[in-house]
Amino acid sequence: MTPVPAGIVVVGASLAGLRGAEALRRAGYDGPLTLVGAEPHRPYDRPPLSKHVLAGELAADATRLPELADLGARWRLGSPAVALDRAARTLRLADGSALAYEALLIATGAEARPWPAETGGGLAGIFTLRGRDDAAALRDALVAGPRQVLIVGGGLIGCEAASCLRDLGLPVTLVDPNSAPLARGLGTFVGGVIAECLRASGATFRPGTTVRAFEGDAAGHVARARLADGSTIETNLVIAALGATRATGWLRGAGLRADAGGVTCDAACRVLDAEGAPCPDIYAAGDVARWPIPLYDNRLIAVEHWGNAVEQAAHAARNMLAGPGDQRPYAHLPAFWSSQFGINIKLVGLPEGADSVAVVQGSRASRRFLAVYGRGGRSVAAVSFDQARWLPAYAEAVTAGDPFPPITDATDRPRVEIAAPGFPPPRRPAPTRPPAETVHV
C-alpha cells in the first residue's frame, strides 16, 4: 500500500480550522489536506449557541457553517489530536492512529472552564456552554422548566444566557465576583449598564461574591449553591460561565511554547518552539493562538473572537504557502459583538489595561452610546451599545493611536466626562515565561 502523502494537516475543525483550510485552497494549494476535529460534527458556528439556540429559535444542529464546495479535504472528526511528535512530523489521535504532516495549522481553540469536581462539579444539572452538544443539552434542560437557574460568571456567555433565559421567562440569578457584569472585558463603568439591564429584565444580580460550592440532592442533582458570603441559593440548573482555557493539553511534550493560555506565535502566526524560535512548518490561528500585537506594545494576546478566527486563519494559511522570506505580519484589531437584552454591543480594540473611559456619543442612561477607552493618553478601544454604525471611525482612531478621547466633534455628543473604566485586578498571575505579560480578551 502506498502511503498517503502527508500534506497539510489542520488540527481543529471549527471556524478557524475551516476558514484556514479554505484559504489554503483559495490560494492555490492543491496537495493533501486533512482536518482533525475533536467533535464528531462538521464545523459549526458558535455565536448562535448562546442566543438563538438557547431561545429555541434555531436547533443546535442547524448551526453548521457553509463550506467551500470543492474543499477536497479528508475529515478526521470525533477523534482529537492527543500528541505531537515534531521530529517525526506526526500527530497521534485519540483513536490511536498516527497522522503524518508536512505542515501543521493549529486551530484547536479553547474549552469551557469546568466547575471543579471537588466543589460539586460532578452534579447533574450543571452545564457549560461552549459547543453544540452543550447548547443542545442546556436547551433540553431549559425546556423542562427549571425552578431556578443560577448563572455563575457575568462574562459575555453568562450575560447572553441570562438575557435569553429571561426572555424565556425563567427565574435567573447571576453571580459575579465584580461589581458589574462584563467587568473583565469592558470594565464596571460600561458593565454597569448591563447590570441595570439584568435587573430590569427581572433577573437577580448578585455582584461582588462567588460560589464556593454546589450541593446536590439524594439523586446527585444540583440543589443549592453555597456562596462566599455565607448565603445559599436554591437552584436546580446551573450554567458555569467561567471563561475558557486554550486547548493545548495535546501539545505537552511537543517542545512548543504552549500552556493553558495558548500557543505562542510570532507576528507571522508561526508557533514558537521552547527556545523561542519560530517553527517554519507549524502555524496557529484562532482562539488558541497568542501573538504580539504592535498596537498594544507587543503584548502577547489571544483573541477569542469570531472575526479573529476568520482573519488569522486566512493569514496563517497565506504565510504557510509563502516562502520564508515572505512571511507577513498579522495586523489585526481585536473586535467582538454580542447581543443581549435587546442591545447590540460591539467592541474594537483592547480595553484591558485602559486607565480611562469616556462616553463620546449618546448616553449610558439611554443604553445607546459609544464609549472610548484611553491608556496613557492614547485611544485604545471603543465599544458601542446600539451605535455600531459609528464604530469604524473609532476603529480608525484606535488603529492610528489617536489622542484620547478621539473625534471631538461628533453628532449626539454629550458633555464628555472622563471616568475610570473599573477593571478588576488580573485574575491570574502573569506566566513566568516567556512574556512579561499575557492578556486574554
Partner: protein, 413 residues
C-alpha cells in the same frame, strides 16, 4: 476649467444632460476642495467611509450663502436664533442622532414591508389607468402622463389621505417640487407660491391628523398619530406634520426621476426593453442598475462638525461636504465597466438610495412602483421610441431628472 470649479460646472444646467464626464474628472481627486469652500466627495470608498463618520452632520447645515437681510450685522444677530428654532422644526432628513433615530424608527415601523406590499394592487390599477388615458395618442410624455401623478397617489394611499382629496395633493406636490431644489433660483412670486403651498398642506395635515386621532385607520398617519404604548404622543405635532410633508415631498420627485430615468435608459437600450417585455422578472435587476447608472438623487450635502481626514485629504471643520453619490456609482475602482448599463452585473452596491443612517426609508416602495410601472410600459406601449434625446431636464442638479420625456408610440395595448 480648473478643478476647484468642477462642482460649479455640475450645477450649471448646461451640463444637466450628461454630468458624468465632470464626475470622472472630480473622481481624479476623490475629495475635491472647491472654490466656495465645499468638498466634493466622488469615490465609492470615500463616500462609504464618510456615511459612517460621526462628524458629518445633516442638521447643522452650512448657513445660506446669501445673507437674508442684506445687513451682515443683523444676520449675525438674527440668524443664530432663527437657526436654532428651525433646527428643531426640521424633518428627519435634516436631523442628527438622537432625534433623527427616534423619528426614523417610528417611520420605519409604519413603513412595514407588509404595508408596502399591500399597495401593489392599488399601484397596478393606477398605472393601468394612467396608461389607458393615453389610448388615443401617438405620443406620450412619460413625466406628466405617468411618473408625476403616480407617486402622489401612492403616498396619499400610504398616509391615509382620503381619495377625494388627492387632486389637492397633486397640486401641492407640483408647487413644492421646486422648493426642494437646493439650487433653484426662485423669484418672489415662486417663493410666495411655495410658502403658500406649505401653509395649505400644513393646515390640511393638521385637520387630517386630528381626524386620524379620532378615528384611527390602518394607515401610516394613524399609526404615527395615535398614542404610543405608554399612552403618550409618539411624535410632537410638529414632527408629525414635518414627517408627513417630508414623505410627500421627498418621496415624490425622487420616484418621478426613478421611473423616468429607468424608461429613458431602456429606450436607449431597446434590447433591454424587449427582454423586460418577454420576462417581467428582470424588472428588479433593471431597476437596481438604473439606481446605479442614472440615480434619482445625485448628491446630498452635509457639514463637517470637525476636521476629517479621508482619502488623503483633510476636510476642515465647518466645511460643507457634498456626497456625490452618482459619481461613486460609476467609480471604476468599485465597478467593472462602470459606464456600461448592465442589468446583469452581480456587484451592484450602489448609492442610489443614499446610505448610512439617512438611507432612503421609502426604498422598498420606490422599487415596487418602478417595477410595476416599467413592466406595464414595456408591455403596453407599442413600438416606443424617444422623440428627443437627450430630453430637456429640470434645472436641479441633485434631484436630477427629465422635465419631459416624449415617447413616440404606435398605440397602446
Amino acid at each position: 476649467m480648473s478643478d476647484d470649479a468642477l462642482f460649479a460646472a455640475v450645477m450649471d444646467p448646461a451640463n444637466r444632460a450628461d454630468p458624468y464626464p465632470l464626475y470622472a474628472r472630480l473622481r481624479r481627486r476623490p475629495v475635491s476642495p472647491q472654490r466656495d469652500g465645499s468638498y466634493v466627495v466622488s469615490s465609492h470608498a470615500a463616500i462609504r467611509s464618510l456615511l459612517f463618520d460621526p462628524r458629518l452632520s445633516s442638521e447643522d447645515l452650512p448657513p445660506p450663502r446669501r445673507p437674508r437681510t442684506g445687513n451682515p450685522l443683523k444676520d449675525l444677530i438674527l440668524n443664530p436664533i432663527k437657526n436654532r428654532i428651525s433646527a428643531t422644526h426640521r424633518p428627519l432628513i435634516f436631523r442628527d442622532p438622537p432625534d433623527h433615530d427616534r423619528l426614523r424608527s417610528l417611520v420605519m415601523r409604519e413603513f412595514s414591508i407588509a404595508r408596502v406590499q399591500a399597495l401593489r394592487p392599488r399601484i397596478a390599477q393606477e398605472v393601468d389607468g394612467l396608461i389607458d388615458a393615453c389610448r388615443a395618442r401617438r405620443e406620450v410624455c412619460l413625466v406628466s402622463d405617468l411618473s408625476y401623478p403616480l407617486p402622489v397617489t401612492v403616498i396619499c394611499e400610504l398616509l391615509g389621505v382620503p381619495r377625494e382629496d388627492e387632486p389637492r395633493f397633486q397640486a401641492w406636490a407640483t408647487q413644492l417640487a421646486t422648493a426642494v431644489e437646493p439650487d433653484a433660483r426662485h423669484d418672489d412670486a415662486t417663493r410666495r407660491q411655495i410658502v403658500g403651498a406649505f401653509d395649505d398642506i400644513a393646515a390640511y395635515m393638521r385637520d387630517l391628523i386630528r381626524e386620524k386621532r379620532r378615528r384611527p385607520a390602518d394607515d401610516m398617519l394613524s399609526g404615527l398619530a395615535v398614542p404610543g404604548p405608554d399612552g403618550r404622543k409618539q411624535m410632537s405635532d410638529f414632527d408629525l406634520l414635518s414627517t408627513a410633508v417630508l414623505l410627500l415631498v421627498a418621496g415624490h420627485e425622487t420616484t418621478v426621476n426613478l421611473i423616468t430615468n429607468a424608461m429613458l435608459t431602456l429606450l436607449r437600450h431597446p434590447e433591454e426593453l424587449e427582454r423586460l417585455k418577454a420576462d417581467p422578472e428582470r424588472a428588479p435587476r433593471l431597476i437596481e442598475e438604473v439606481l446605479r447608472y442614472e440615480p434619482p438623487v445625485h448628491f446630498r450635502t452635509r457639514k463637517a462638525l470637525g476636521a476629517i481626514a479621508v482619502a488623503g485629504e483633510m476636510i476642515p471643520k465647518g466645511a460643507p461636504v457634498v456626497l456625490l453619490f452618482a459619481a461613486a456609482n460609476r467609480d471604476p475602482d468599485r465597478f467593472a465597466a462602470p459606464d456600461r448599463f448592465d442589468p446583469d452585473r452581480a456587484d451592484i452596491e450602489h448609492f442610489g438610495f443614499g446610505g448610512g443612517l439617512h438611507y432612503c426609508v421609502g426604498a422598498p416602495l420606490a422599487r415596487i412602483e418602478a417595477e410595476i410601472a416599467l413592466v406595464a410600459l414595456s408591455r403596453r406601449l407599442v413600438a416606443p421610441r424617444l422623440v428627443d434625446d437627450p430630453p430637456p431636464y429640470r434645472p436641479g442638479a441633485s434631484l436630477r431628472g427629465p422635465e419631459q420625456l416624449r415617447i413616440g408610440i404606435d398605440g397602446i395595448v
